[in-house]
Amino acid sequence: MSALPAAASPYVDAQGRLDATRVRADFPILARSVHGRPLAYLDSAASSQQPRAVIEAVSHYASNTHANVHRGVHLLSQLATEAFEGARERVRAFINARSTREVIFTRGTTEAINLVAQSWGGASLGEGDEVLITHLEHHANIVPWQMACAARRARLVAVPLLPTGEVDMEAFHRLLCERTRIVAVAHVSNALGTVLPLREIIAAAHARGVPVLVDGAQAVAHASVDVRALDCDFYAFSGHKLYGPTGIGVLYGREQLLEAMPPWQGGGDMILTVAIQSSTWNSLPWKFEAGTPNMSGAVGLAAAIDYVEMLGRERIAAHEQSLLAHATAALAQVPGLRLIGTAAHKAGVVSFVLDGIHPHDIGTILDREGVAIRTGHHCAMPVMDWFGVPATARASFGCYTTETDIAALLSGIGRVREVFA
């Protein structure tokens, strides 16, 4: 994809940059108003919006293709199977996995991590073993490990952060030890925007023979992800943060690891033979896909990947970095505003607090101005504890975010300060 020369793409301006206004026109929901104001959607880190291409692909699947997969001899079942397995191949190419056997469809990042924590953790963790995470993880990369550790009498250890919101790598190297059985880290922090030094983390873990799971929920839509170049062992992400539908996600796993892992959920599709007392398992990736999968979600995800690659991931990343620099500089001028998360290497997320004004109040007032941001703990309560705040306000960017959205945010913050003057 994106073989078109830059000048031929309607999404690229004369300077070769992403034309976000043109991109925006592809997202029907962004044309609506809220509370009588034009919508400035700055909550893509929670869930991104869907372009028309995704909405139409899902609709086309339901209108023309749908039947159950892997079981029918009739035409529709074959077409649905082709669409579903075609989506798997699309995902494989997108993350550069070696084989579709390494691409498991899940409900989302959360389910993907639970799958590894329970299947791999159940088979590989023992008393006194340690699972190493960081203090900036989303609850989805904390709680599944707490549960696995409790079941196996293992310990969960978290690497502390620096005041910038970066992972304390000195501490990481100290805490990675002979007891560590797996390292599970975010690619990008959802609450702070911090991009983690994955190459360093993975190289150090592998030097000790420790596998690494990467929670990529916040990364896939914002940078190129190549699981072979990263050399990670597991990589999890969600469709709905990649301009795709909800309820579909992916677990990439290194084939040897997946082969050795016991099945997680039992049911149809994940078996070869079933007798009353015992069953035999299907091969990868279906061994981990019990029950009828989310075919329309997979089709939507494939369409979202096509869309993102048509825009160009590097171009999207450059666009978001330029918005981040602009927003960071503008917010720094607001009296009483403190940015939470000032890592040198960040994704398009700005988390902040205002002196004496609770993030919930900021969120309500901005909403009335048409500005949608996330307020609260962002499913990362340990991060909030770390910074000594109950919550933050967070604006996050996507391929369709424009400077007009940032201007609306700033003017909304002005309104917040008026109400609480």
């Binding site: 109040d361 309500t364 609260g376 703990h377 109950p390």
Partner: protein, 151 residues
């Protein structure tokens, strides 16, 4: 619905100068309430004389709505009997959710919370202190019952 209907002057004034903020020690009942939506927590301590609330204090970090609501509640329940507090709670609940009769209890200044029901995402902020008060009173009842049963 305008923002000024949510952030009425009374609300903003109580947010700036919360009444009965702090902690009572010793106390006759206490509870901590959490709003998992925003990570806020609110702790209540109160002294009772028979079935009458003598004094109540609250502490914790919260949004303007939750702080003002707790502050208003601390004034409204002071000196009231527990049955009166139950009636008042029902009225506040009706006021916040737009269901039932908000006039059963004497709401007084609590009427300032009327705008909240137009902001569904904020109803929990306003009701957190009332749920916490209920929890404190229920726990006390349970403790008393336990004491009674062992005697």
């Amino acid at each position: 619905m305008d923002l000024t209907d949510l952030y009425r002057d009374v609300i903003l004034e109580h947010k700036r100068n919360p009444r009965n903020f702090g902690r009572l020690d010793p106390h006759d009942a206490a509870a901590v309430g959490h709003n998992p939506l925003c990570g806020d927590s609110l702790s209540l301590t109160l002294r009772l004389e028979g079935d009458r609330i003598q004094e109540l204090r609250f502490a914790g970090e919260g949004c303007a709505i939750s702080v003002a609501s707790a502050s208003l509640m601390s004034e409204a329940v002071r000196g009231r009997t527990l049955p009166e507090v139950a009636t008042l709670y029902a009225s506040v609940h009706a006021l916040l959710t737009g269901t039932g009769d908000a006039n059963a209890g004497d709401l007084g200044k609590l009427q300032a919370l009327a705008g909240v029901r137009e902001f569904p995402a904020r109803v929990k902020c306003a009701s957190l202190c009332w749920h916490t008060l209920n929890a404190a009173l229920e726990r006390r009842d349970a403790q008393q019952a336990a004491t009674v049963s062992t005697e």
